[in-house]
């Protein structure tokens, strides 16, 4: 029918639009349904109804009959909730969630294969059963609440059968003046839903391209600054040099602003991720019979889109861990003098150029002795090493590969791969993760992430004849080295700084340059997670903004190197991957000791 009026390529575009729109709608709907189970807010119910209604309408127009039929049945159930004829209790939301998940899969099918081939019969049957069963339900509730008598209900049901307008039972009961409309409406909580921001959809690839170009521009700007400083030296007090400096400054500030706004364009609120948590927690609680009070804070905190995607799996894992091994069963909690309902709270906030995400639970905490025993049993560390560790260092051993202290395995976590994968994933994003805990009381996991992946501030240092970039986010202090400052204890170099013993790494030794011992130079003090280390360098070049370029396929996995960057003078320098440097150092130390 639309053959001549809508061209084929236009039709494709409409289908693409349909896929994008309905996927987004389904995302929202799945999040909202968990909300109405707790609090059947009228506005939220309406928006779910509208979304499903829209999908029904558009899919039937485009000829996706299976999807349209499923949406239609879902709409029937939602219509009854909207008219307050059905309570969105656990049973109802379970079926709705099942149907929404199925709708999402159908949309994905259409996106990938262009057709919808999926069995929907059993879900549709469940939805239908809800609408039929409910006729009795609202009546039963009214009788139970002693709002109406049994014979009044029977009467109303009979009237409903004969009613020419197919009125709903609730309406008839109100018409009969058995209850007021206000009573029927029951719950009326006015919560203003936020107005959506004005948005357009942009292909991420376009933004990536833009970000790449900005990266190149930053490199160009850095070169210009370098040339500018050379010219200044050569032409003292020359007006040409002054105007050149002006232009350079101007370009520098514009480039910085451009970089910031392109970066902002890629930022997405973390609610995209956090909104999925209530559903996850709900499902997990259902499986484990635990009870959880979930708190979410700072969901408007924004971070790079690619980080949001990469964070999904680690976050799911952390939450599963918290629920599985952290929060105890209600009866065990009461024995410990805690509330029966466990607390899980998630918080996101900005700290300088970083995003901090905290996940807290008031469960078991980390059993330090169990961690130590496990590490010893697996032969990952020796007793003497374990004995000198601070409690915090011991806690953070949970991130070592091949370690799982939970006694019982469950379907979702505790297979021994877990926290180490979380750590690896987060470090891939140039982030850090560490844990804090009080045994028997609580655990707090802290994730620290950069705002963006592509550009960062770094300290450029010289080791022997080579330059390295150290991410500035890890650097806390520079110490001028002098004779006798670095001492050797047990073949290990350490620095005593304000009564604190800090191990010192010599990059020259690790990367096997001509390691000529020099007493001058500097020690860069860095904090990585709970560890403080010093890095011995020969001189400091300065702070610079570096654009991170991957090393490419052939050089991809050099341990301790996170990437490379091009400096103003065109030279390529390596960017250190600090967590890996620290890990390497520990490894080497062990080899030396053996």
């Amino acid at each position: 029918m639309e053959g001549q009026i809508v061209e084929k390529d236009e039709m494709q575009e409409i289908v693409a639009e349909f896929i994008a729109e309905s996927s987004e709608l389904m995302e929202n709907v799945i999040q909202d349904i968990v909300v109405i189970e707790e609090n059947p807010d009228e506005e939220v119910v309406n928006s779910i109804f509208r979304a499903v209604h829209t999908i029904k309408g558009t899919s039937s127009f485009l000829g996706f009959a299976t999807l349209s039929n499923l949406a239609h049945k879902g709409e029937d159930v939602l219509g009854m909730i909207r008219k307050k004829e059905m309570l969105p209790d656990r049973e109802v939301t379970d079926v709705l969630l099942e149907s929404f998940d199925l709708m999402k899969q159908l949309i994905d099918d259409i996106k990938e294969k262009g057709t919808e081939a999926r069995e929907t019969g059993s879900t549709i049957e469940k939805l239908e059963r809800l609408t039929k069963a409910d006729r009795k339900k609202i009546g039963e509730i009214l009788v139970e609440e002693e709002a109406i008598k049994i014979d009044e209900l029977v009467n109303a049901l009979r009237k409903q059968k004969d009613d020419p307008q197919e009125k709903k039972l609730g309406e008839i009961i109100v018409d009969e003046k058995l209850v007021t409309e206000g009573q029927l409406k029951g719950f009326l909580s006015k919560q203003k839903t936020q107005k959506e921001e004005q948005t357009i959809r942009i292909d991420v690839r376009k933004l990536d391209e833009l970000m790449n170009l900005v990266g190149e521009l930053v490199l160009g700007k850095n070169r210009l600054i370098l040339v500018n400083s050379i010219i200044k030296k050569d032409l003292n007090n020359n007006s040409t040099a002054d105007s050149f400096a002006d232009v350079t400054n101007y370009l520098e500030s514009i480039t910085n602003e451009l970089q910031l706004s392109v970066m902002k364009a890629r930022l997405v609120p973390i609610s995209k991720l956090f909104n999925k948590v209530p559903r996850l927690v709900r499902d997990l609680c259902g499986e484990s019979k635990k009870e959880i009070d979930l708190h979410i804070e700072g969901e408007n905190t924004e971070l790079d889109r690619s980080l949001i995607e990469a964070l999904h799996d680690p976050l799911v894992h952390i939450i599963r861990n918290s629920l599985d091994h952290g929060v105890e069963m209600p009866e065990d909690r009461k024995k410990r003098g805690k509330q029966g309902k466990g607390i899980l709270s998630m918080k996101a906030y900005n700290e300088g150029n970083h995003i901090i995400i905290e996940i807290y639970d008031d469960g078991n905490g980390i059993h330090l002795q169990a961690v130590k025993d496990k590490v010893r049993e697996k032969g990952l560390m020796t007793d003497s090493e374990l004995n000198v560790m601070t409690p915090k260092e011991v806690m953070n051993l949970i991130f070592i590969p091949g370690l799982s202290t939970a006694k019982k395995l469950s379907s979702v976590s505790g297979r021994g791969v877990g926290m180490d994968v979380v750590k690896t994933n987060i470090e891939k994003m140039n982030g850090q993760v560490y844990v804090d805990s009080v045994e028997g009381q609580w655990t707090r996991l802290i994730i620290k992430l950069p705002l963006t992946l592509a550009i960062m501030r770094a300290l450029i240092v010289k080791v022997a004849e080579d330059l390295f970039a150290i991410p500035l986010s890890t650097v806390i202090e520079l110490v001028k080295s002098r004779e006798g400052l670095v001492k050797s204890i047990d073949k290990n170099d350490v620095l005593v700084l304000r009564d604190k013993v800090i191990p010192v790494i010599d990059l020259g030794k690790i990367y096997s340059f001509d390691a000529h011992e020099e007493s001058d130079g500097y020690i860069v003090i860095c904090i990585i997670g709970e560890k403080t280390i010093g890095i011995r360098i020969h001189s400091v070049i300065g702070q610079e903004e570096v654009v991170i370029k991957p090393l490419g396929e052939f050089l991809g996995n050099i341990n301790g190197v996170g990437g490379a960057t091009i400096r103003g003078d065109g030279k390529v320098i390596l960017i250190l991957d600090m967590p890996a440097v620290v890990a390497n150092f520990g490894h080497q130390k062990r080899l030396l000791n053996n």
Partner: protein, 123 residues
């Protein structure tokens, strides 16, 4: 060229209607709900309006009532998109000032027929 304002909360429907109408050389403006449409009408002159019934913020019925209160739009033809068979609702919509109904799913030739006949009637 005549301008048609399409009001629907579904971007798929808006895109679809726009394609059909642009093919017949109409200019198309889009709004995502009644409130947005009122805003658009303050700087777009529409010769005809196609509005969905069920929308967030301000629904179709509310929008038409508001529209007809504005002297400027007192006889601009309005087509309402709907799936409802509820006669009471249809009567209310007519009383509010809707000129014609168009059933969803939209049939392109029926849409164009209704649009063209309403625009001719006004001349």
């Amino acid at each position: 060229m005549q301008t048609i304002l399409v009001i629907d909360d579904s971007s798929t429907i808006r895109k679809l209607l726009s394609y059909i109408l642009r093919r017949k050389d109409f200019l198309v403006a889009e709004a995502e709900d009644g409130l947005d449409a009122m805003e658009k009408l303050s700087h777009v002159q529409a010769d005809l309006i196609i509005v969905d019934l069920n929308m967030p913020n301000m629904d179709g019925l509310e929008f038409v009532k508001n529209l007809r209160n504005n002297y400027y739009y007192i006889d601009t033809p309005v087509i309402m998109l709907t799936t409802t068979k509820d006669e009471n609702l249809r009567r209310d919509a007519f009383q509010a000032g809707v000129n014609m109904f168009l059933n969803k799913p939209v049939q392109p030739d029926v849409l164009l027929f209704k649009v063209e006949s309403l625009l001719k009637g006004g001349e």
